[in-house]
Symmetry: C2
Subunit: 249 residues, 2 copies
Amino acid sequence: MNQRLSSLHKSHSRRPRLADHVYAKLKKMIFDFELIPGDHFSEADVVERFEASRTPVREALQRLQREGYVEVRFRSGWQVRPFDFEVFEQLYDVRMVLECSAIERLCAMKRQPTVIEELSEFWRIPVEKRSHDIRLSDDDQYFHTSLVAAAGNAEMASIHRDVSERIHIIRRLDFTQASRIEATFDEHAEIIHAIRKQHGEYAQQLMRTHIAASRDEVRKITLHMLHEARKRHEAHEDEELVKANNRGR
Amino acid sequence: MNQRLSSLHKSHSRRPRLADHVYAKLKKMIFDFELIPGDHFSEADVVERFEASRTPVREALQRLQREGYVEVRFRSGWQVRPFDFEVFEQLYDVRMVLECSAIERLCAMKRQPTVIEELSEFWRIPVEKRSHDIRLSDDDQYFHTSLVAAAGNAEMASIHRDVSERIHIIRRLDFTQASRIEATFDEHAEIIHAIRKQHGEYAQQLMRTHIAASRDEVRKITLHMLHEARKRHEAHEDEELVKANNRGR
DNA sequence: GCATTCCATCTGGTATACAAGAAGCTTGCA
DNA sequence: TGCAAGCTTCTTGTATACCAGATGGAATGC
């Protein structure tokens, strides 16, 4: 009884670490283009924004730095790491390698994991029932990461997840075009079908084509989107300026 | 002139970050089995050892934690992450996938990077001239990492380097056996030869066999070495205890 | 008017103080 | 002697103070 109460109390009082919260929020801001690649900011800015002290803020920034999202310059502030399309292309290639390896292993399995069937169910739906929500990009990411996870190598899955997440910031932009969405449904369904039939080489070829298409498409539209985000950002800043001036009078 | 002086001064006065120093030293201690997997320690211990404050110590520990070398338990201290052979096996598999991909790309190149020739020079030496130094494990790691780097994908090379480094802690143990050293020279030379001849499939097969052999061998001897290290550690602790007792009298 | 120098200010790196949970020891009791 | 409650101590998480380098602008010399 005492134990139950105490553990209950614990689960209530154990608040999540502030550093984790700041980390997640900052990452979300970067993904939502509230912080645009190239933006400069200081630790004090983040402290003010999140009402936390520098210690957890610094921990969060260091994690983001290690993951490639931000950079610090010695006593000259932090910066959201600018887009480097060469890096993204390389990450796409890493994905190809890892996912093809996963497919090879999955096709060699006598008894495939049940998640394969679930994925098959999800992506093999008629055209008229397909969602066109932007959140479909999360489902897309889930498709790829759970394929790799299903292959059974947890370390490889972890690496692949990190890579996918880094790509995700621009990958989502691919899901603004209806034609690409339709293609994604079709291609995912076809890949899963080939895996279930254990046509390893063919499934790998499909996956390579699928990823390459995504890579090429994203490259085309990213520059445009980035430009739009920057415009919105500047407009917002002007608005703030007007308000400040009005208050000043 | 002033600029030259000031930049000179800068390069002198810019001392390396304490956090980096602590990070490197701690990692070295873990690799040298001064800190044994499973060992328990607190941030205060590290502070005392390195005469640094908690801030850089914590940064170092957090980096090591993200890289999988240590773990923290909420308000109950840190511990060196115990060996998990399943993880090592998985990391070996990741290496196989990445290195085979690199080989495939290298073999597809019309003009291969010059580093390939350098590696060929290094490993194709007569039996009687071969070094048996333990530092050969560094050369071995260099062989594999520069192969991947030569394939041209910097992100993939970075991931591969991290994986290789995590394995290195036990991989070195493989270089205590003369037969394994000889095999390494032979196999490296053969792999490079196949790459230069652009026999992609064959080179990949050789690499898979090579890595698998290393993996299997290391697994055999790691438990033994770990046992030895623990014995040495305890003997050292006893010694300290004796000294302390003598001082006490 | 222009360049240069110097200083106030801002930055991240480090040290330290404080908070609160976890663990182990001590003490009291049965 | 066994055991349990409570308290002391030790732990990490967080906040804050201090330091030195970097920066930008104002003041100064030409």
